[in-house]
Symmetry: C2
């Protein structure tokens, strides 16, 4: 319902990542999987999640005698240290364990290094495909006698930035996390509580505003996105303000808002 | 979310009835059970549903290490004929099997016969509690010499009507159903399809408008409530009109609407 409300095209979803098996993080999954099938999806879907999630899904498909129109591949999480779980030409995805009441993992999405870009202003039109590829890989184009014909520096621009996003799920504060998400462009970190509830946060395996902002600061991220606020807070401004005292470039995660990471 | 939207007080829910294990009929249950617990419920909840539902719930509680704040009692449905599954001083609840793609049950909720009512206009104020109870049970009040002091007929009014509601879940047309819901005040019957899709309805174990209205007519119910419309129908008026050609007192089941059964 929410994907539909915010006009997210489900055909663009090929992988789903479930951090842990608390209800507010996965109860909607089975309904989504069924809806995708009813809506005619036929392309494969990969689901990453804690061991046990596959059993939950399988039992429900069995009792309802449901056969989905598309294949699902389930990948169980078990990493005890940061570990790459996906890699292709464009992206690496790393999972890392966080500290919650039950087994819980975060995810780091990182674009691969990008090629240099052809400088359209200086580029001669006569380049061959091979020459373009060579230039994009940082090589010069040579004449037959070996002398430099097109110097890479003149005809290309630096690569665009490889963007990165870390989703830290539900976790209490622990310092190591800052190393694992070092330098990301956008860091999602939960802030269930205000700073005055630090003790409660520790007990419940959640974090405060100040703790989330401290991770952002230590990790030298560009932007901190805070969310998962306790329902006791009607007005979220104090949470934002408190996080900003430690890390200024902080945003509230509000359902339906878009956040763009610039290249 | 919908209970909250329509201001249904969840504290008034003591029993939940699940007809069958297709996703659109039970995927929301696990979330509701958790929300009730988070919101502080501590009173017992009874869930009636097909065998297998308890396993689904248990698995999810286990993996999320959830312990609810209130006790749940699960009653598995297995009736092959109408069968009383609940009875107290006010109500009997009967379940009956319907004909769907997977095991599926309907439910008939029927108020017990009600006592006669004291006629406030004719009643002397000096009645004792025992006398009131006797009058409500249809007895006369006698003098010491055995002669009639207060004739029941004079001092009481007939009982209010015992109301009844039948929910027939998802089913294809079968005649026996009309006997099982004979004379109810309100009959909910699915009408997934228009009359011209009768063959498709049969194949998919669903009903048409005309079939639902035929059951209502044969069962001599007071009001027919039709719902579970195929998503192909944007405008529901033709479905309503078609049902009315067979059974005039038909209503559309629209989420959020209240329907009152008068006593």
């Amino acid at each position: 319902m929410q994907l539909n409300r915010y006009r997210v095209r489900t055909s663009r979803i090929s992988h789903i990542f479930i951090s842990h098996l608390h209800g507010d993080h996965f109860f909607g999954l089975i309904g989504l999987l069924n809806t995708l099938s009813l809506n005619g999806r036929d392309t494969p879907l990969v689901i990453y999640g804690p061991p046990g999630l596959d059993t939950i899904l399988t039992v429900q498909f069995q009792v309802s005698q449901t056969v989905l129109n598309y294949p699902i591949r389930f990948v169980g999480l078990e990493a005890e240290q940061p570990e790459i779980i996906f890699e292709d030409q464009k992206l690496t995805i790393t999972t890392f364990p966080v500290q919650h009441r039950i087994a819980c993992w975060g995810f780091l999405f990182k674009e691969q290094p990008k090629p240099r870009r052809i400088n359209k202003e200086t580029m001669p039109k006569a380049l061959t495909v091979e020459e373009i590829i060579a230039l994009k890989h940082g090589q010069d184009i040579s004449n037959d006698d070996g002398s430099v014909r097109y110097a890479n520096e003149t005809f290309t621009l630096p690569p665009r930035k490889s963007r990165s996003y870390a989703f830290c799920a539900d976790t209490r504060y622990f310092e190591e996390l800052a190393e694992w998400v070092q330098g990301v462009d956008l860091l999602y970190h939960e802030t269930t509580f205000m700073d005055n509830e630090e003790e409660l946060a520790e007990q419940r395996y959640h974090s405060t505003t100040v703790q989330a902002a401290t991770i952002a600061q230590k990790a030298r991220v560009s932007t901190l996105l805070i969310g998962h606020f306790s329902s006791r807070y009607r007005d979220l401004t104090p949470l934002l303000d408190e996080a900003k005292t430690v890390f200024d470039n902080t945003l509230l995660a509000i359902e339906g808002h878009d956040i763009t990471i610039e290249e």
